[in-house]
Amino acid sequence: MKQYLTFFLMPLLFCSCLKYLDINSNPALAIPNTVQGYRELIDNDLITNNNTPGLGHLGSDDYMLTTATWKNTETIPKNAYIWNPDIFGNEEVLSWSNPYEVVYYCNVVLDGLPHLKVYDTASQAEYNAVLGTAMFVRAFQFYALQETFGQPWRPSSADRDLGIPLRLAPDPHQQVGRSSVQKVYDRILLDAKSSIALLPAAVQFAHRNRPCKPAAYALISRAYLSMQQYDSAKVYTDSCLLYYDKLVDYNELNLSANRPFPIGGNDEVLYQCTAVNFKAQYLPSSEVDTGLYTSYADNDLRKTVFFRLTATGGHYFRGQYSGKVYLFSGLAMDELYLTRAECYARLGRIDDAMNDLNTLLARRWKTGTFQLYTATTSDEALQQILMERRKETLFRETRWADLRRLNQDAHYSVHLRRVVNDSIYTLMPDNPRYAYPIPKEEVRLSGIEQNPR
């Protein structure tokens, strides 16, 4: 009997072996095991809210450089300015790696958070918010990347055109190829829509680095707009405006301040975010396109709020909603009004369209000087709305996405033109250079397909 006892005792000695190995080897290492731990990760605003590609603006017609400035500028903006086939040279491409680092942070949160157990409602709400934030931020970055490096959404070939790689798990060794544009947008919409239920309803006034329900609606409307699905875009704009519809009256701004908008975000900002910065985006030597500047009426307050005179007589942009010198690339209410106005116009609801446009512009003109905009045809309305969109959302990275979309319709397409060093560079609407090249390092290491330039 004694002998058998030994047999039975042996396994007992080593039972619960899995638990035995569950101990943390170094308590000093903070391994996130609470919702708060993940919240702190996603609250790292230097990563999360600071890193959209910022390249689109460099190729846009919002600004212009003198030959002297251009010569002294950094490699990437220098090439981007003239839509060179090679943009990056041997430079490190933060415009690619930083947004993907944000995606990585999101994936870490999305991967780790579901392993936690939540017991009370308060922490459940926080849990939802963090999870929703990670989904929203990932969708937001995917959109920004797609509109820079992916092919533009073309309704006829979206399922064949190449978009960006969709990294959906934190495993850095995962081989991820480029998805079709259709798939990329499907994912953006899926993530953004999923986040709606999780995010808080109220705009996070004190924490505009954190998204909210209206921000998610705004992101979705932005995506639908790029997909030229104007009815859907309108529906989501409506949803957003149901939650929040505030606009800033520019008459109330302090115009003597260097930066007229506060750092924490003004009342129009739903979600605060800035782009990867290049000096060419914010140095006073990057002047606002002269044609664009002159298109503002004198009573249009934006002419003073947005611009400052440079030493050479040009104007530079100072109206960043980021409150800093860096390009604002987040979501703001003015864009929502313009989006809905455009959707109404395209859907033939001219009065509604002009109503939205006037609601916005009434707060942009000097009190008492504003006269309502009117239109009789959709086209007339659209012309005015697109013009105002250009004047309202400059230096925000959205112009590049708008160009990629509008160029598909010959009626609204734009021919870009630069003069540098006595040479003239042009970018025609159907040019493949509307998609930036994939960085060489990425192509070398993951073997994904390069964009034709």
């Binding site: 190995l21 080897s25 391994i31 708060q36 944000v102 990585y104 495993d171 850095p172 390092e441």
Partner: protein
């Protein structure tokens, strides 16, 4: 019948016949058996029936006197293969004589303790033939007659004579020699399941036993393995910090040293706590079959230390004492610039404005005295004559002379060790006490050690239940007040004045600044090395204790269960006291002096500063195993099955603390404010430095194992092992946390065991093994975040400091090993053969090694450290032991040689510039792990003596772009810094009671980077000038004889860096060294004939004799080539070992 009667009478006339009733006497010579039988029939009135052929026996002689019939017949058939049976019927004896068949005999030889004895010679007298017993003590003989006499003899037993007397099987019990201290049965100890060497699994291992362990005393129990342990390389002496490697390298970034096991469990304490005098054997496990049982942590091989246990009969005492005189090292070995040249170069560089930056620097860094003199001269503070005089005087001093005089000494190291062991059939005990004291070659340093070790082994229930307990205590106290080096690098520094007073040297600050600052309100700010030496008070105390208990119960014959447990604690306390009068305290006090306060107050409290760091290392191990041992018998299948589980936990606790204003007499200290940012005396912000740290680490392992060893007919062996290991330090994914390790071995014993010729004097055994072991690094697979300052919105935020790696797992190290054990000319004195050893080839491949990886940027990570690298290697081992001369004068030799090479086969990370390879030793795919890469050198410029390199294919002096060239284009592979071939040779000569032995060590196929003249480093004060300068380029034409560049015209860092890491400084490292020579004389009890028996060995040895041959012409010892290193100094050792 009638014929026989007739024959009888025919022979009769030759025979003197006398007849008595039933008793006979006769004598015949040169007759046949048949005649003898017939004679007996007639004389004894008996009838003999004959079965079997007996006609072949001729030429017999027999004399019988008054014997019975039986006795007479016995005499007749003596030595013949016959026996007989007698039946009495009606007064007539009927005798049936039967012939034996030629017999076979199978036998076992056992000791009186009933253990089978191996390698015992069984010789068949009167023939010269014989056999050896196998591991089961079994032997087989055939073609025997029962007349033979068997002689059972062996090294370890008392010779015994046995007659088989026609039996087919027999068990022979022999007495072991009461005490034999030189020869022991070789036990293969893998740390789990000690078995006799001959039944060890067919893996690769090597064992170091006495007397090799006693050759030269040492504190560090690994140093004994140098040149005496097969496949193990110690101290490569190159820039890599690697201390030991078995068969080369198997990992890039994980633990690189072999696993050290002390008595059943991995040893986590300080190795110096192990007293070599308490060690019975050191076993090196080289391949996966030998080390299979250690699975996950044995990728670098395993070192098993087995401590001595009690045994033998009665109490025995052994006393060892050693005294070693270590001579003062020769500082002249260091190739320093001659002081006169040093002053010359400083003058030259001062004129070239190299020192301008340092003289103008707001932090007032130290510059050499010559520069200060020249600066003062330039500013007109002193005259030309005075300056010349001072500089000339400086040139007379030599730092090496002063250092040698005041910092170094000849040391006398003493060792004492007393041990007692006793044994009986039910109990063995061992107890020992050891004491070592070594004042070391550095003045004011000291090393002291006490070790106490004890073990008991009880047997109950006639040996079925065994209990072993073991305890160890050791304490080490070290004083480390002298590093042997100075923090200044001008070679004319003067340490003592004419009357021996401590002199200041220019350290850290410009003395012009420190002597004028503060207007007399500061403490003396000069640095006097001699004063520092005398004030230093640094000590380390290491206390280590462990206890072990194991119980073994034999459930059934062959089946036993075993449980063991060890608890171990090591505590290390490092205490560094900075004396209030030492430079460190004076410097801090001055720095924190607030010049604008009326009383020139300082933030540093008066008193000493004390740093204390405590490390507590606790480990707990537990194991349970079941084993079944089927002995197999004569022809059967012998097999051993082991299965069990093992768990261990190691807890490491570190804490450190600093106390200001410490008063050593009262033990008090004063609190300081470490948070306030003070403005220091130079106007820089500064906080009071604190030295606080608190850390706990837990490492747990759990493993399950099973192995089986099957031997068929003693010829074929199959070994299988499987193990599953898990740990808490890797594997977020529970599946990756566990990894299976395995090993498979095949053995074949080709030693001819013929039945006809009874002795075949050679041994030949083949082995083939393959398996997978593991290694682990410090990387964790978990997501680790680091808290950052609050974000722009005031919220807590954190960043990822360690990206999670769910896939992180063990490194796998595979090895395929083929070995051949041979023994030639074996006999009972050399059961393994007079020429004996092994030859082995191995190939190894590491997979999933931790390495850096360049990732696609879309992964979100720029770099990644994970299981991404691979490495291959191969090599061979040769072990050759010979008994060259035997007799009164004896000579034995032993040669160990290992070749091991490796190659990194996959390493994805490519450094951004060539410096990554040349200066930072980044592994490079396709090259050995221990590669040295250099900038391609094109000799010296004939006009200026500048070093020249290549930019592309063009000769270039654009040092900046060469040093920072992208990728690996500008560099070449210069060789391996780990010797590919290494080994040792021992020769022992004996004459009567004298023995003389020597140990040689050799290393070959490696290079090292020789330090040379680095002008930039000399000017910046990070290195002394090098004697290579004396050989530098002076005039055009010199470029043909030298590669040492001329002094530069500008203080160009890249020029110096280029030369320092160019091909020109690569030096071949191969060498042959005479490690030691030892002369011993043995006295023993037999001389005086007194009881009890005693033995005494007295010896004299010289250790670190020096290099016999080296490949480099620079006189460099490749074990000490780095800046400031010196070869181990010679030591003269006398020792005495007395055993009762």
């Amino acid at each position: 019948m009638r014929l026989s009667v007739a024959l009888l009478f025919l022979a009769g006339w030759l025979v003197n016949i006398r007849t008595y009733a039933q008793r006979v006497s006769f004598s015949v010579e040169h007759t046949t058996l048949e005649k003898e039988l017939s004679l007996l029939e007639v004389l004894g009135h008996c009838i003999i029936t004959r079965n079997g052929n007996h006609t072949q026996f001729h030429d017999l002689s027999v004399t019988v006197v008054n014997a019975t019939i039986e006795e007479a017949l016995e005499q007749c058939i003596r030595d013949l293969p016959f026996n007989f049976e007698v039946t009495d019927s009606l007064g007539i004896k009927y005798i049936s004589l039967r012939r034996y068949r030629w017999t076979r005999l199978k036998g076992h030889v056992y000791s009186t303790e009933n253990e089978p004895l191996e390698d015992v010679s069984v010789q068949i007298l009167p023939t010269p033939n014989g056999v050896m017993t196998n591991a089961d003590g079994c032997f087989r003989l055939s073609n025997l007659t029962d007349t033979v006499l068997l002689v059972i003899s062996g090294v370890n037993i008392e010779t015994q004579y046995v007659r088989p007397e026609g039996r087919r099987t027999m068990d022979i019990t022999v007495k072991k020699k009461a005490r034999n201290l030189t020869a022991h049965t070789v036990i293969f100890d893998n740390g789990y399941n000690p078995v006799k060497a001959s039944t060890a699994p067919p893996g690769s291992w090597f064992q170091l036993r006495r007397p090799a362990l006693d050759r030269i005393p040492a504190i560090d129990p690994t140093s004994i393995l140098r040149a005496q342990g097969s496949s193990i390389m110690l101290g490569t002496g190159t820039k890599n910090s690697l201390h030991m490697a078995i068969r080369g390298m198997s990992t890039l970034n994980a633990v690189q040293e072999p696993l050290v096991v002390l008595d059943n469990f991995p040893y986590t304490g300080d190795l110096r706590d192990i007293n070599l005098n308490d060690i019975e054997s050191i076993t090196i496990l080289k391949d996966p079959v030998a080390s299979s049982i250690w699975g996950a942590r044995s990728g670098n091989g395993v070192l098993i230390y087995t401590s001595r246990k009690g045994g033998g009969k009665g109490p025995h005492l052994a006393f060892v004492t050693n005294t070693a005189i270590t001579v003062k090292p020769d500082l002249g070995y260091q190739p320093l610039l001659r002081p006169g040249d040093d002053t010359f170069l400083e003058k030259l560089f001062f004129q070239r404005h190299f020192y301008d930056a340092a003289l103008l620097d707001a932090s007032h860094p130290a510059v050499p005295p010559v520069v200060i003199v020249l600066d003062q001269l330039q500013r007109g503070l002193i005259t030309q004559e005075k300056a010349d005089e001072l500089i000339k005087e400086y040139g007379q001093h030599s730092i090496q002379k002063d250092l040698s005089k005041y910092f170094y000494q000849t040391a006398v190291w003493q060792q004492y060790h007393l041990s007692m062991s006793s044994g009986s059939t039910v109990r063995n005990d061992y107890f020992s006490l050891g004491y070592d004291v070594d004042p070391t070659n550095l003045r004011r340093n000291n090393f002291e050690r006490i070790t106490i070790q004890g073990s008991n082994n009880w047997k109950w229930l006639s040996g079925k239940l065994q209990l072993c307990t073991q305890g160890h205590f050791s304490k080490i106290v070290m004083h480390d007040n002298n590093s042997g080096n100075l923090p200044v690098n001008y070679t004319y520094a003067q340490l003592a004045g004419p009357s021996g007073e401590a002199m200041p040297v220019n350290y850290r600050y410009n003395p012009e600044y420190t002597s004028t600052q503060g207007g007399g309100h500061l403490r003396d700010w000069s640095f006097r090395p001699l004063q520092e030496l005398n004030l230093a008070d640094n000590s380390t105390r290491i206390t280590d204790y462990h206890g072990q208990i194991s119980i073994r119960y034999s459930i059934l014959p062959g089946l036993s269960a075993e449980g063991m447990y060890r608890w171990m604690k090591g505590e290390q306390i490092v205490r560094n006291r900075y004396d209030k009068d030492g430079f460190y305290v004076r410097d801090l006090t001055n720095l924190f002096t607030q010049l604008n306060t009326p009383d020139f107050s300082t933030a540093i409290p008066a008193g000493d500063i004390m740093d204390k760091a405590v490390t507590i290392n606790t480990s707990e191990n537990m194991r349970g195993q079941l084993s079944y041992n089927h002995p197999g018998g004569f022809s059967g299948i012998r097999y051993v099955i082991n299965a069990g589980a093992d768990r261990s936990q190691q807890t490491m606790h570190n804490e450190s603390m600093r106390y200001y204003g410490y008063n050593p007499n009262r033990g008090t200290n004063i609190l300081v404010d470490p948070i306030t940012v003070y403005t220091d005396i130079m106007g820089m912000p500064r906080q009071i430095p604190m030295n606080q740290n608190y850390q706990d680490l837990y490492v747990r392992y759990l493993s399950f194992f099973a192995n089986m060893d099957v031997t068929l007919k003693g010829k074929y062996t199959v070994y299988m092992s499987a193990k599953k290991d898990g740990t808490n330090i890797i594997g977020v994914d529970a599946r990756k946390r566990w990894w299976p390790f395995w090993a498979l071995g095949l053995g074949y014993d080709a030693t001819k065991k013929s039945r006809d010729t009874l002795v075949f004097p050679h041994i030949l055994k083949g082995r083939l093994s393959i398996g997978c072991n593991g290694n682990i690094g410090s990387r964790t697979g978990y997501l680790v975040t680091q808290s950052l300052v609050p974000n722009n919105y005031g919220d807590a935020q954190s960043g990822i400091s360690n990206p999670p790696d769910g896939g992180l797992t063990w490194e796998r190290s595979y090895m395929l090993n083929a070995g051949l054990d041979y023994g030639v000319w074996r006999d009972s004195l050399s059961p393994q053969g007079r020429l004996q050893g092994s030859i082995e080839c191995f190939t190894r491949w590491g997979r999933g090694l931790l390495g850096n990886d360049t990732l696609a940027p879309s992964s979100g990570l720029t770099g990644f450290f994970g299981n991404t690298a691979t490495m291959d290697g191969w090599g061979f081992d040769v072990v050759l032991n010979t008994e060259n001369i035997r007799g009164r004068f004896g000579w034995t030799s032993s040669l160990l040689l290992t070749y091991a090479s490796d190659k990194v086969t996959n390493y994805r990370f490519v450094p951004s510039s060539a410096a990554g390879y040349t200066q930072f030793n980044t592994p490079k795919q396709g090259r050995p792990l221990s590669s040295l890469f250099s900038y391609r050198s094109a000799g010296l410029d004939p006009t200026y003596g500048d070093p020249q390199g290549y930019k592309g294919n063009d000769i270039s002096k654009d040092y900046n772009s060469i040093v920072n060239a992208k990728g690996d284009t500008g560099i070449i592979y210069s060789g391996n810094y780990q010797p590919k071939i290494f080994g040792g040779m021992t020769n022992t000569f004996t004459w009567k009671r004298w023995s003389l032995s020597s140990l040689m060590e050799f290393k070959a196929f490696f290079v090292f980077r020789r330090p040379s003249m680095n002008y930039y480093a000399m000017v910046s004060g990070s290195e002394s000038g090098n004697a290579d300068y004396h050989n530098s380029w002076r005039t055009p034409g010199d470029e043909k004889r030298t590669t040492v560049p001329s002094p530069p015209l500008t203080n160009d860092r890249d020029r110096s860096t280029f030369y320092a890491y160019s091909q020109s400084t690569i030096t071949r490292g191969d060498y042959v060294r005479l490690q030691d020579v030892r002369l011993a004389y043995e006295f023993s009890g037999n001389v005086t004939g007194k009881a009890p028996a005693w033995r005494m060995t007295a010896y004299f040895a010289i250790n670190n004799m020096g290099i016999i041959w080296r490949a480099n012409k620079n006189g460099i010892d490749p074990n000490a080539f780095n800046y400031g290193e010196m070869p181990a100094p010679k030591s003269y050792i006398t020792g005495l070992r007395i055993e009762f």
